[in-house]
């Protein structure tokens, strides 16, 4: 009996040590990447990252901004593309650190207001203006470091509306948007705290709609009918044909998986989180690398019907108009 107990203990200790020793990316996580582009951008990029918080309010509602960026930004020989991030309802950048640091590791500067009600997109635009001010401030670590010809937006839930609204109201400064779990227009309170149909249909830029198959209540793939845009497909179809656009759903992902780590569902069953952010790292990063850094190989992954995105095993409900 003692021998059996000792063996069990030894096994447990060994298993624990092994789990601790392995990096998260090497562990078996749901929705692992399959093709070369997804695999490349699923992994963290080459840059060590750091984070800073504005010492004063960076938006018109008095919120501070967090900025995630490559630690060697001062020695960078080129200006870096900027991503403006918008939080979901009642969330702060603290809820998205894995995703935001992942972007910074790929050479993006990410500015994220700490606003918890971002649907209008105005505070995201404020955070963009804050970075523009930093870029001309010699005392700032971002002095002449930002490439304002390559600015994107991304956001989650209400923040997905906020990111898209920011792009459509940026006068062309924001070139592309990635929306995570963009809610049905059913969920917009008030209605204009949402991506409204006239805003969308009159817009320009490019947009990648990302949702999860387990988020069928808030951001489902399809809808039964009606005039509101109550699904990812409806948003996609309402997006002007002149815009580059794509849509896909990560298998098994729920509304808040973009906030989590694998296993977040064990203690987070009330957080609509099951598998964590990992499945979301690959293609959304590739989209931004294509649109903001000119990675043509990443862009080819979204080619309508034949790109790598369309054969990735973790995804379904995929469409694009990328030639």
């Amino acid at each position: 009996m003692k021998r059996l107990s000792r063996a069990i203990c030894t096994t447990l200790v060994s298993a624990t040590a092994l789990a601790v020793a392995q990096p998260a990316a090497a562990q078996s996580v749901p929705n692992a990447p399959t093709g070369p582009v997804e695999t490349q951008y699923y992994a963290n990029g080459p840059f060590a990252t750091t984070t800073t918080r504005s010492t004063a309010a960076c938006d018109s509602k008095g919120n501070q901004c967090d900025v995630f960026y490559p630690a060697n930004i001062a020695s960078s020989t080129t200006r870096l593309p900027l991503v403006v991030w918008a939080n979901g309802t009642a969330s702060t950048p603290d809820n998205y650190t894995i995703w935001l640091k992942h972007l910074a590791s790929w050479g993006f500067v990410v500015v994220a207001t700490r606003d918890q009600q971002t649907g209008y997109g105005n505070t995201a635009l404020d955070s963009l203006a804050y970075m523009q001010a930093q870029d001309i401030n010699p005392a700032s670590p971002f002095y002449q470091r930002i490439d304002f010809a390559h600015v994107g937006a991304a956001g989650h839930s209400q923040g997905a509306s906020g990111a898209a609204n920011a792009m459509f109201h940026s006068g062309g400064v924001i070139k592309t948007t990635v929306t995570f779990e963009l809610p049905n227009q059913n969920w917009c309170n008030p209605a204009d705290n949402c991506l409204l149909t006239p805003t969308l249909t009159g817009g320009s830029g490019s947009i990648f709609y990302v949702s999860g198959t387990a988020d069928s209540l808030i951001a489902p793939d399809t809808q039964s009918g009606g005039t509101q845009l109550n699904s990812q497909t409806a948003y996609y179809n309402a997006t002007p044909a002149g815009m580059l656009k794509a849509k896909g759903l990560l298998k098994g992902a729920n509304h808040n998986d973009v906030t989590g780590t694998p296993g977040c569902g064990l203690l987070g069953f009330l957080k609509a989180c099951a598998n964590g952010v990992y499945g979301y790292l690959g293609f959304p990063t590739a989209w931004l690398a294509w649109q903001l850094k000119g990675d043509a190989t990443a862009g080819a992954a979204f080619k309508n019907g034949t790109g790598e995105f369309f054969t990735a095993t973790a995804w379904q409900g995929r469409v694009s108009n990328i030639p």
Partner: protein
Amino acid sequence: MPVRRIVLLMFGVAAAAIAALIVWPRSAPQVPEAGTVIIRPAASAASSAPAPVPEPSASVPPQHSAVETAILASIGDPRAELRDVVTRRDAPQIACGEKRTARDPVFRRFVWLGHLKMLATDDGSPDFGTIAAVCREGQPVP
């Protein structure tokens, strides 16, 4: 013995309190949907008993439950009203009822996911019916 008297007295007080709770007259219960319990309607229930009428200028803020307060905060409209708010007995983070706002003065059904702080409003589409199914006890919690 003094100790025994004290114990008997405590039992007596407890029994009286329980009896009072049982026989105390209450307002007529509202009929909830199956599997739900009423928290509190936003509007006061009509009563045949005479009640003091407040002065027109008197501004008495309505009393709201914690759930109603959270819902109203999410709407962000000081003139918003709720009624017939019910919560799921097996998932108290989910509440359903009707709301109206200054910009949309008609009472419309809503679904509240408190753990996500999200509120869906009935747009008359079948999709809202899908969302509203979450109000029923036993349905999967998103």
